[in-house]
């Protein structure tokens, strides 16, 4: 059935687009793209599920196949017009993730999270920087750089390419209803790593810019970073307080209110130079750990989170620059292998140093492999920061993201299944319900 519906949807879309294939998207184009992406990615996700692959890989694949690099059913302006969903999706996913981060329950895992972040993530960033340095002969944009400059660029690229994807981690956890030490540790690490990567990018790119002769103001960078991180946390606390009050005192129309809040976080937060992920995460953590309305928050977010996630991942697929792979497939493949090896080995070492459970040591690394929004955003930022060679360098980074986006979710899914945490959230809910029933009976 999924295949038939996909074919029919594709046929209709092709027929409609043939009316004006090269025309501007206009209002009809945006709406058409939204509806088509939503329906197609949904059925592609179902198809992938039948193949025992993650649904979100199906969403991404649908975007790739229908997008400008595939069948061209979605033009570039159409895909660009759907970009607005990205910020909302990130805020929504972070709010969901935050509302599930119970600090008391996470406390025993903090040691593992710290060590895996330090050894796995930071260690892999160093490895990636070394790999870029060594790959200089096959990277034309590095050819004309001086030694110091090349080192600086390699370090910045190492930071860009180590970035993880909290969105994919949360989406897979929700899809598989996974829970346990591996799931929680991975979530903690990707959130912490997200923060770390933002800080490291700001610092390394400022230093690199200074080496290129551009005026780099360390004080200004520190102030910007402080505003972005502390400001985001402060804004998140404010948002969390407002949400808690609303859910407790008003409750009616909560789904709409929550969605509008994510829109505010994404759109207005971005304009105020806050990190939407941090704002939403802080809000969610506050609601979970300081109030009693976390369950209501989670429940009310559900209706709109699926459509937003579907469009988010499909648009991510449609935005993939697969053409970048044509020119940079060799270094990109090497980098992907180095990154994968570094993260898997580093997280294993980190988990052992922290004395974590064997499952965490064996499987947590797979959760660090997926890449999506942050890596893409940093790639674009890199290109903007270094306009002389940024475009050429972004072919490499986008190629790496493309490969990781396609392969890594399936690997993490497989890891969650193998470590036995898939479906455990449902089992725990059932047990809790049974215990509650038992209490009521007595």
């Amino acid at each position: 059935m999924n295949v038939v519906l996909l074919v029919v949807l594709g046929g209709l879309m092709h027929a409609t687009r043939s009316f004006s294939p090269s025309g501007p998207p206009g209002s009809g184009g945006t709406l058409l793209a939204f509806g088509y992406v939503l329906a197609t990615a949904f059925f592609a996700g179902g198809l992938f599920r039948q193949l025992r692959l993650p649904r979100l890989t199906g969403y991404i694949a649908a975007g790739i196949v229908a997008g400008p690099m595939g069948l061209g059913l979605l033009s570039r302006p159409m895909v660009a017009s759907l970009d607005v969903v990205n910020g909302i999706a990130v805020a929504m996913i972070a709010l969901t993730a935050g509302s599930e981060l119970e600090l008391r329950a996470m406390r025993p895992l903090l040691r593992s999270i710290r060590w895996i972040t330090l050894v796995g993530v930071v260690g892999t960033a160093v490895l990636l920087s070394a790999a870029v340095w060594l790959l200089r002969p096959v990277l034309p944009f590095m050819a004309e750089l001086g030694t110091l400059q090349a080192i600086a660029v390699a370090v910045v690229l190492g930071v860009v390419m180590v970035a993880q994807s909290p969105a994919v981690v949360v989406a897979l956890r929700d899809e598989l209803r996974a829970d346990g030490a591996v799931t929680r540790t991975v979530l903690g690490v990707v959130v912490l790593a997200d923060l770390l990567v933002i800080v490291l990018f700001a610092v390394t790119s400022t230093v690199a810019k200074a080496l290129f002769g551009a005026g780099a103001d360390a004080a200004q960078t520190a102030a910007t970073l402080a505003w972005e991180i502390l400001g985001s946390l402060g804004a998140g606390a404010l948002v969390g307080t407002v949400l808690a009050i609303y859910l407790r005192k008003v409750a009616g129309g909560a789904s709409l209110f929550l969605f509008l809040t994510t829109v505010v976080i994404a759109e207005i937060g971005q304009r105020l130079h806050f990190d939407p992920l941090l704002v939403a995460l802080a809000a969610g953590v506050l609601v979970r750990n300081a109030t009693h309305v976390a369950e209501a928050l989670h429940r009310e977010l559900q209706p709109s989170s699926l459509p937003v996630s579907i469009v988010f991942f499909a648009v991510a697929g449609a935005s993939l620059h697969l053409d970048a792979l044509a020119t940079a497939w060799l270094p990109a493949s090497v980098i992907v292998l180095v990154r994968g090896g570094g993260l898997l080995a580093g997280s294993r070492v980190g988990a052992r140093l922290a004395g974590a459970q064997p499952e965490v040591a064996r499987y947590a690394g797979f959760g660090l492999l997926p890449q999506a929004g942050l890596a893409l955003a940093l790639s674009m930022l890199f290109a903007k920061t270094f306009p002389e060679f940024g475009a050429a360098a972004s072919a490499l980074t986008l190629g790496v993201v493309a490969l990781n986006e396609l392969i890594a979710p399936a690997l993490y899914r497989s890891a969650l299944v193998r470590c036995g945490e898939a479906g455990r959230a449902d089992a725990e809910t059932d047990t809790a319900a049974a215990s509650a029933l038992e209490v009521v009976r007595h």
């Binding site: 329906a39 660009a80 017009s81 559900q302 709109s304 699926l306």
Partner: protein, 469 residues
């Protein structure tokens, strides 16, 4: 029975979920439309963007509140229709938001609001079509078809004739060439189609009388005439005729029907696969967006395309009907209010031609409705008494009439449609005010009498009225 209750509960929950997510996604669509504007055209200043976003969010919140059951209960209590309580204020909000001093809806934002409008029209069309259950025609006494035909065609002809003449005069010539100008004929047809529509609330005039149900159904069947009129206008008066496929008008009409039917079948197949509430949300959103988007892309009417799909969905068997019906109904009014905001934002109040057309349109509609009611009263079949005739003659314009002009604005964004929009918006408000003034006392008296005769408490009468409305 138990099973039925459970199904209803699940339907209501799904409806809430769909309503919440669709309401929630409207600002995203609005934002998408704003973000999709050409970079040079959108003012990038953060304060401007933040102001626009906050205003849009406030608007969505207000529309949600405007559609709240409590607001509807107040309307029932005050015996006024939504055009007065919520509709007109939203048109005013649109006007205010457009004002340069407020600067929320700037020209580029306005140009890109089509995404939101397209979705709103698609939703309204699906709602109207979904009401077209085959049971609507069941138990109708013979002669109803004649009533519908006369009560619709005579006002249509009156409005087309009188406003056509007025448009001709305004355009500066009564010559044959001017009379054959496609834009003029198109505008007269749009005015006629909107003018022929009757609000289903007109059945309230009849209280609990059995004929109220018939009149309510007549008003719904009239919607079909409105949709047909809109389909014909969109097919035969093609906007940007030089773009895309070059087909004759009749072929475009067939394309419209084909697209609507295909969408209906596709939606049926898709909705049948939904296993959970979130999945149902995704597929409902996908259906409306895809259908309305495809129609807008082809420069067809989203209302017509989704109306056909909705009519098919209403008549196919399956568990989707309860869930979809509840969801569509729940969001009908907020979506309608948002489209009113948009029409307020594009309303060119400085265009004097619109103000001239308002009284002409209103008068032509009143005359046509009166003539139509009188003509329908005679003949064989159902006999219309004085009350039924009165109800038909003074009926206010329904939301579909407003949706038709919103659709016309979307199809023909040039300035030529501006007087038509003014005439229909102004006419709708004027008609509603006149109807309220004329019938307010009469309505109370009739309902009191009906309640007293049947020995029913007022609450029962209210419930009956809801059922007929």
């Amino acid at each position: 029975m138990h099973h039925r209750g459970r199904l209803t509960g699940s339907g209501a929950a799904a409806a809430r979920a769909v309503a919440a997510s669709v309401a929630a996604l409207l600002p995203a669509l609005a934002m998408a439309s704003v973000d999709g504007a050409p970079a040079a055209a959108v003012p990038d200043a953060p304060e401007v963007v933040i102001k626009t976003i906050l205003a849009m969010l406030l608007l969505v919140g207000l529309a949600y509140l405007g559609g709240h059951p409590r607001v509807q209960a107040w309307e029932e209590k005050l015996r006024v229709s939504q055009v007065i309580t919520a509709g007109f204020p939203f048109v005013l909000l649109g006007l205010v938001a457009r004002h340069p001093a407020v600067g929320v809806v700037t020209a580029p934002v306005l140009a890109q609001m089509g995404t939101l409008l397209g979705f709103a029209l698609g939703w309204i069309g699906l709602v109207a079509g979904f009401r077209f259950d085959a049971r609507l025609f069941g138990g109708l006494p013979p002669g109803v078809a004649r009533i519908v035909a006369l009560a619709t065609s005579i006002p249509f002809a009156c409005v087309v004739g009188l406003t056509g003449f007025a448009l001709l005069s305004i355009s500066g010539g009564l010559g044959e060439a001017a009379a054959r100008a496609p834009a003029l004929v198109r505008d007269a047809l749009i005015l006629g189609t909107a003018g022929a529509m009757t609000a289903k609330t007109s059945a309230r005039l009849l209280g609990t009388a059995g004929s109220a149900s018939v009149l309510s159904r007549v008003a719904r069947i009239e919607e079909l005439a409105g949709v047909l009129g809109l389909a014909a206008v969109a097919a035969y008066f093609r906007p940007h005729a030089d773009v895309g496929w070059q087909l004759p008008g009749t072929a475009w009409l067939l394309v419209t029907v084909g697209l609507g039917a295909t969408l209906g079948l596709l939606a049926y197949a898709m909705l049948s696969t939904a296993r959970s509430r979130p999945e149902f949300v995704v597929l409902t959103l996908g259906t409306v967006s895809f259908g309305a988007g495809a129609a807008s892309y082809l420069h067809l009417s989203p209302i017509v395309v989704t109306f056909i799909a909705g009519a098919l969905l209403a008549n196919f068997p399956g568990t989707h009907r309860a869930r979809l019906g509840a969801a569509l109904h729940r969001l009908e009014r907020p979506v309608y209010l948002l489209s009113l905001f948009a029409i307020g934002a594009v309303w060119d109040v400085a265009d004097w031609r619109g103000w001239v057309l308002i009284p002409i349109f209103t008068a032509a509609r009143f005359i046509g409705k009166r003539l139509g009611a009188n003509a329908a009263a005679g003949g064989h079949g159902v006999l219309l008494g004085p009350r039924e005739r009165e109800a038909l003659a003074v009926a206010p314009m329904g939301p579909l009439a407003i949706a038709i002009v919103v659709n016309a604005q979307l199809l023909y964004p040039d300035r030529s449609i501006s007087p038509v929009a003014s005439a229909i918006i102004g006419g709708a408000i004027l008609t509603e005010v006149a109807v309220q003034l004329v019938t307010h006392g009469k309505l109370s008296t009739l309902e009191r009498r009906a309640g007293a005769l049947r020995g029913e408490p007022a609450a029962t009468v209210d419930r009956s009225r809801e059922a007929t409305g």
